[in-house]
Amino acid sequence: MTDALLHAQGLAKTFEGRRGLFQPASRIQAVADVDIVLARGAALGIVGESGCGKSTLARLLLRLIPPSAGTIRFDGQDITALEEHAMRPLRRRMQLIHQNPSAALDPRLSAEDAVAEPLRIHGVASGRALRDRVAALLAEVGLPSAFLHRFPHELSGGQKQRVCIARALALQPELLVLDEPTSALDVSVQAQILDVLEELRARRGLAYLFISHNLAVVRQVCERVAVMYLGRVVEEGTAAAVLGAPRHPYTRALLGSVPRLGARGMAPAAAGEPPNPAAPPQGCAFHPRCAIAVDACRSSIPPLLAVGDGHHVRCPLSL
């Protein structure tokens, strides 16, 4: 796997909770034993419900927080323990898009200034060349020059997200980590932003790590998908296999719970709610909600098993 842009192995993150007066510190295993391979120009979706560790995983992969275990390689280079000054040149090549563009933009910076800022900081361009470059970036995300001098409060949610994307593109990254990029947007605007993202990927050969709770959006954008539950990947493979023919009971429950336009009525596909990460169930974390759980599920965590071409499932009962 030398041609992978991003390659993580055995990645884990444990957060230490605050110690109470009479209580020992609680430990929350947010991410455990995660392997990720993202090829250049590919799009990998990470899906799961709140608390499954998908946003923590994104922050780990960008080295915004240090992992507790495992290794991360970016373009062949081990970045697991790189010092911040050594990370800085790599940061230009990996960018993050947040869920809420209103919070991600400085209210005092115009669209032009917001996009120019990273170019100035990295000394990429100045003067006329800088202005031309910023205008070209904004045009690339569908914002004509009329938007250059608008401030965030003069922009709609979709337009703000376009500014964030242009800003992320400014330093010509190879990897975009998109953390719920359309969740704060209306559905008619979501479709526009997804179009912009798809065009950019095709034109610039970007790789996407696309984090979302919206399975339909992930199915549209990504070739591969990893499903997380309580910090672990429970199923991964091509989007067509995982979302079209799911094997893991949790993936099935997740897909069965999505309201479909064509269907009246709602049959809950899983009982109960995701468990508290501070007190995870023994064995397979999904067993308390699983309809097919057996004794073995309650005692040991099953390994990821290959069930087909590049399709892995963390459930021996689904073989």
């Binding site: 209306d186 559905v187 549209q220 336009l261 899983a270």
Partner: protein
């Protein structure tokens, strides 16, 4: 037969420093006993303001009723004094909201809050508040009715000890306390995970069927409305652009905005179908577009659309469309 709720040409404005925002611009809707009506639309279309209008929950100022009426069992509730409104809230019309955590007091146990709500209902009805132990007994019954296990233990717990799904069930239980005829649910599952959302929607469907409740469900999610409601009204910029049986609307939307909204939803089962965005963005309501408020984004807009506001037309039985050019 008198309709349960009849909204006629209802107009409501918000007075702001920048001017008067015409938030609801002539809403017409009818709900009969046992009906399930979904209100769907994007941010700022006025769906939540409309829902809150049924219970006079929009703070005034800034909200100002301009014209029209909302009749509940024939009585115009817009002209009701606060005392009269209090008799309706919870007893005739109940409401559940998007974010269950912010509607529960973090300092009080679930039991205390439910007792207070139940005894408050007694007082609003002009009766003597029942004793706490009797209110507690009813609370336990209600918690069991919304599918919460071990009601007795739950009554002693505090909101932070409950999951999001459990909190929303507690609020639904409280909404049932006054045996309302209509449940207004404003994005009741938006803050919940999808597996929990499915459970809560199934619960609402069961309560509606078992208790003969009418349901008005407000959502930005067409899928949620499709799963829960027999009829749906699509709102855009303060107007209802189309109202139809849900299956018919989804199969063949007649209003260009309804068509655009449905085409924008990515379909999990048809990954090769590309969702289409609607060009442009929602208009401001202080100076809304003239004529049809959708005309600046409409692919079929003509001169008439820019000058003349389209009124709802019954193009097919049970379907009303506010568009000059829609054809059945």
């Amino acid at each position: 037969m008198t309709a349960l709720v009849e909204i006629r040409d209802f107009r409501l404005s918000f007075d702001t420093f920048d001017g008067t925002a015409q938030v609801l611009d002539g809403i017409n809707l009818t709900l009969n006993a046992g009906d399930t009506l979904g209100i769907v639309g994007e941010t700022g279309c006025g769906k939540s303001v409309l829902a809150r209008s049924l219970l006079a929950l929009n703070p005034s100022p800034p909200a100002r009723i301009v014209s029209g009426e909302i009749r509940f069992r024939g009585d115009d509730i817009l002209r009701l004094p606060e005392r009269g409104m209090r008799k309706l809230r919870g007893r005739a019309i109940s409401m559940v909201f998007q974010d269950p955590a912010s509607y529960l007091n973090p300092l009080l146990s679930v039991g205390t809050q439910m007792e207070d709500a139940i005894r408050g209902q007694d007082a609003a009805a002009g009766a003597r508040a029942r004793p706490r132990h009797a209110a507690r007994a009813l609370a336990a019954v209600l918690l069991a009715a919304v599918g919460l296990p071990e009601p007795a233990r739950l009554l002693d717990s505090h909101p932070h000890q409950l999951s999001g799904g459990m909190r929303q069930r507690v609020l639904i239980a409280m909404a049932l306390a006054g045996e309302p005829a209509l449940l207004v649910a404003d994005e009741p599952t938006t803050a919940l995970d999808v597996t929990v959302q499915a459970q809560v929607l199934a619960l609402i469907a069961r309560l509606v069927a078992d208790r003969g409740l009418a349901l008005m469900l407000i959502s930005h999610d067409l899928g949620v409305v499709a799963a829960s409601c027999a009829r749906v009204a699509v709102m855009y910029a303060g107007t209802v652009v189309e109202e139809a049986p849900t299956t018919e609307l989804l199969a063949r939307p007649l209003h260009p905005y309804a068509r655009g909204l449905i085409a924008a939803v990515p379909d999990l089962d048809r990954p090769d179908h590309r969702p289409q965005g609607i060009p442009g963005s929602i208009p401001g309501l202080i100076a809304p577009p003239t004529g049809c408020r959708f005309h600046p984004r409409c692919p079929a807009a003509t001169h008439r659309c820019r000058t003349e506001k389209p009124l709802p037309r019954a193009l097919l039985p049970g379907r009303a469309v506010a568009c000059h050019h829609a054809v059945p």
